[in-house]
Symmetry: C2
Amino acid sequence: MRATVIHAPRDIRVEERDAPTILTPSDAVVRVVAACVCGSDLWPYRGVRDTAEPRAIGHEFVGVVDQVGDDVTDLRVGDFVIAPFTTNDGTCQACAHGMTSGCDHGSTFGVTPDAYGHPLGGAQAEYVRVPDAAASLVVVPGPVDDDLVPSLLTLSDVFSTGHHAAVSAEVGPGKTVVVVGDGAVGLSAVLAAKRLGAERIIAMSRHADRQALAREFGATDVVETRGDEGVAAVRELLGGDLADCALEAVGTAESMDQALRVVRPGGAVGYVGVPAGDPELPMPFLFAKNITVGGGMAPARAYIEELLPDVLSRAIDPGKVFDLELPLDQAPEAYAAMDERRAIKVLLRP
Amino acid sequence: MRATVIHAPRDIRVEERDAPTILTPSDAVVRVVAACVCGSDLWPYRGVRDTAEPRAIGHEFVGVVDQVGDDVTDLRVGDFVIAPFTTNDGTCQACAHGMTSGCDHGSTFGVTPDAYGHPLGGAQAEYVRVPDAAASLVVVPGPVDDDLVPSLLTLSDVFSTGHHAAVSAEVGPGKTVVVVGDGAVGLSAVLAAKRLGAERIIAMSRHADRQALAREFGATDVVETRGDEGVAAVRELLGGDLADCALEAVGTAESMDQALRVVRPGGAVGYVGVPAGDPELPMPFLFAKNITVGGGMAPARAYIEELLPDVLSRAIDPGKVFDLELPLDQAPEAYAAMDERRAIKVLLRP
């Protein structure tokens, strides 16, 4: 089969690899219908994170169950499934509390080996083996309209992650919210905040196309400035006040600092940007301001069931974050387009 | 009047000072009935924090209104009042959200000047001027039984702060809770967790007298070990699991690290220890574990109204944290006793 492999910074190749097979009785193998490139895939692409040796990459996909292990009774060959970007066993303490991304046996696709010592492939490929398949995969009741595939794919990571930022920042009816970051996760966070009933949603964005999508997703205001000026702009929009909630969707020290500074005393920051570099949380500032900081790797598996009905009913269309679709063979171009900001997020079809 | 003044590390003196007077129409002057020494007062006492010049010290007190400014219509001379350790104007965004410790015009007793440029005395004295008195002070319906004074005094800071740790860590019915720190704040956090319905409360303590009070306050278990051993002990008590909540009541890097490591993925840490040194929050760890961190300076003013009925009805007796009572003149001995751990917390009577 074909699979996307990162060899080094800016060296992405689509190569022939052995197709995955069932390795344990709880495995399934999924034929990928759609995958995509994540902002966090750009960290190794840009060399911000090391690539010690070539590895399969990608962790977001939807597809059709192709094979199941003997213990997998809840899935059938032919089921259309959404794969959360992390697997989970469904039985540990974290899973019992719905924090599936903190599972004792969890692993992220594209990071080998899995928690049981078996290799785990990347999602930007034709087939993917899924350990703990019954607990990890979510079946979409079929038949599945093809035009829904992009939005279903966002539940794998990007929209679930935006939702996690909003949940972690305690977004709800009447709240004022600032979203820091206008990438696909930030835009998803805008939509999630709107869905949760936020009263004001201020998107910090300097790109016209992203501002437009932010407004379509529910942003009531856009702030183009950053730092002190950005804080002042938020205050001006809110009548001198700061926001109740900030959603951090980048992962740098600068973006976290911005998020912390736009919320009022007693406010909350939900962060989902994968920490790049060494962002620090300034304890004396947090202590004096009583700012709650929550978030991290989204428990997508736990959120999919809540979010899926709104996608299936077309109440929301998070798939709009995909502004470019390419065949899998053009994965290198997908990375380049996102790296150069020619695309917000690229969907790949094997 | 007599007031306690810190001159340098381990140099605490009770001196004659001018009694405070009304400086603005929103002031009140309170005759102190009881004050006390806070664990955070030990930072300058021990030299962990600098004392640039001699200053009045102490921020916790209850007393009787002695004078009021012309604009203070809600308070009467003779009212028995609880002073939260920070003043608040009652009108800003933070106050509107109940985060009174983040008030735009807030200040802490014993730190001069106040937000309006006037000197603000310490609480370990005979009289204290209170700016924004109507918004800051809480009247206790009289007559006030003298034996309730210690518990009423804890609402000024220490019990409200323990409560803040518990609220910030989302303690509630059925939750498992670890309390890091067995000083007066940690013990208050145990009582607060019990009051909020926690199912298991594990106190980390190595001192027999504090363990006893922790159990009296509601701790179901005591762990004497620290670090990896402490984590393992918590796991053993919880059947292999980690806690839902950790309450950090010290303020050092070690105690924060301990708190972060005893909670499960998706758990919460409420911290109220005044940060000493430079405790850091390890972002990659928080990101991977989805641990929410909240807390800071307790909004005591907002909590007093919730907690006061339970003190007046004697449902709780947080005043038990005072295991030594001295006349104000012996303030230096009060500091020494707490520094040398001969006392948990010392009450001072002018």
